[in-house]
Amino acid sequence: MGHAELLGLSMATATETATDFDVARNDSFGLRVQHILHGNPVLGPLAVLIVAIIAFSIVNVRFFSAANLSLVLAQVTVIAVLALGQTLVILTAGIDLSAGAIAVFSSILMAVFCTRAGMPGVLALLFGLAFGTAMGALNGFLVTRIKLPPFIVTLGTLTMFFSLNSVISNSETVRGSDMPSLMTWTGNSIPIGGFRLTYGSIFMLLLFGLFFYALSRTAWGKHVYATGDDIEAARLAGIRTSRVLFSVYTIAGLLYAVGGWILIGRLASASPNVGTDYNLDSITAVVLGGTSLFGGRGSVLGTLIGALIVGVFRNGLQLGGVEVVWQGFAIGLLVLVAVSLDQWIRKVKT
């Protein structure tokens, strides 16, 4: 025993010398999985998505039909666009509770501009997008200049935007048929085989591609990650962190407004009474996609998968005959598991 211990000790010393400045290796299976997930955080959510699709297809054969999968994609499109903006904010270690409010308020503004104000569709759309961007910029201003915590800022603006939303809309729904066709264009679809792909979904996928590029291939993207990772270190490295944060909240606002536009197409109307659960759904999608709420870690690819997981679960549970009230329970449980997993992956040791 004593001998073995001695041997172990001397071996440990030898390893330490050899790996003086190299990275030590772990051999336990759990640690290896932890390392792989740490290096490729999208793998976990992807596995969940694939397993969920297979499971729901077994439960109900109708699930894996082209028509139903098209429906799932159309259902998640708005949430996915909101979650894209939310991802940017969460990557900087922030949170945006006003995502849904900005989206719905922007859609109402667009509808009001082109009906009551009589603007042409293009102008109403551009104004709506501009207002959404301004709402995001207000969040960014409060976070970077007044230096309030993002949670508080967006809790405040969430309430304000929903209130303004009711005032401007008179709590009335604007029908899609009363609006120029551009407003509901995102709801139109093109058939691809048995699939029906809406323009909104195509646009959403393009946006994900754009932000995948911006985050991974541009200096701005690196700065977003560095700011969320360790804001003080980023500042000392010469990054203007306030500018990065402001740009993130502002761009997120624009994305929410785009989400609002797609929402009009999806519902074929602009309604002030939808979207209360969009905030949490967007955060859920981000978290399920493996983006860390502590900032600096994650990807838009993960968020897309996360949004699809939410959509697949809701749709699959529905087809499986699970009552609506229990769907929320299942999604909530999924979130808790995802966050626990994130904590575990974060504790990676070399």
Binding site: G39, T218, D230, A233
Partner: protein, 258 residues
Amino acid sequence: MTTPVLEARGLTKRYGRVVAINGSDLELYPGEILAVIGDNGAGKSSLIKALSGALVPDEGEIYLDGERVTFRNPMQAREAGIETVYQTLAVAPGLDIADNLFLGREQRKPGPLGSIFRMLDRGHMRAEARRHMSELGIGTLQNIGQAVESLSGGQRQAVAVARSAAFGSKVVILDEPTAALGVKEGNRVLQLIRDVRDRGLPVILISHNMPHVFEVADRIHIQRLGRRATVITPKSHSMSDAVAIMTGAAEPPPTAKA
């Protein structure tokens, strides 16, 4: 006599009634490692922050290569060629080694890819990062695309030092670079500091670790009560002399010239 690369004259910084630095001087000569030691509250960090632009002094002048300079923020000091590695390790743990080396100084691809699409030249940055790392004898890091958080404390320090050496054209300031490290890694970083000096960059080293200071420093600036008490060399004085001067137990000897 050679002109100092970096010179501070009568730097003063007050916070209300508290005087952090009280007319402090400092000279850093070409090709030397100048250690700055002092008891807690002697004004070491304030002095260093003034030199690296993190703090704007109320009074006093700073000269770089004999030219008067004023720094309003760390970026200005950096643009003037003074690189600082802070004690809090200014690295982004989630980004890889190459990204960290170029953090805040990313290089874009030439042509429209870079100017319009703002695409980063990753291949070039990685090759450059690898070159900088191996120039300092830290080529053993097998993967330049490895996240910094997967590195040990010494390796992270090496990345931070490599960054300052790669971009610092005049002066490298290191704040407690060995504080959080084990014996072996500490020694490795000391060697790195010597390598930086031998490549022609003078180094200011702030440290509490007397053996480390006496091992690498060419001259030792002792800060006491907000000003420079004296400058000694490891040859002229012992560690206990230094501690005695630092704490006021002994009279400071006249300042040693480079």
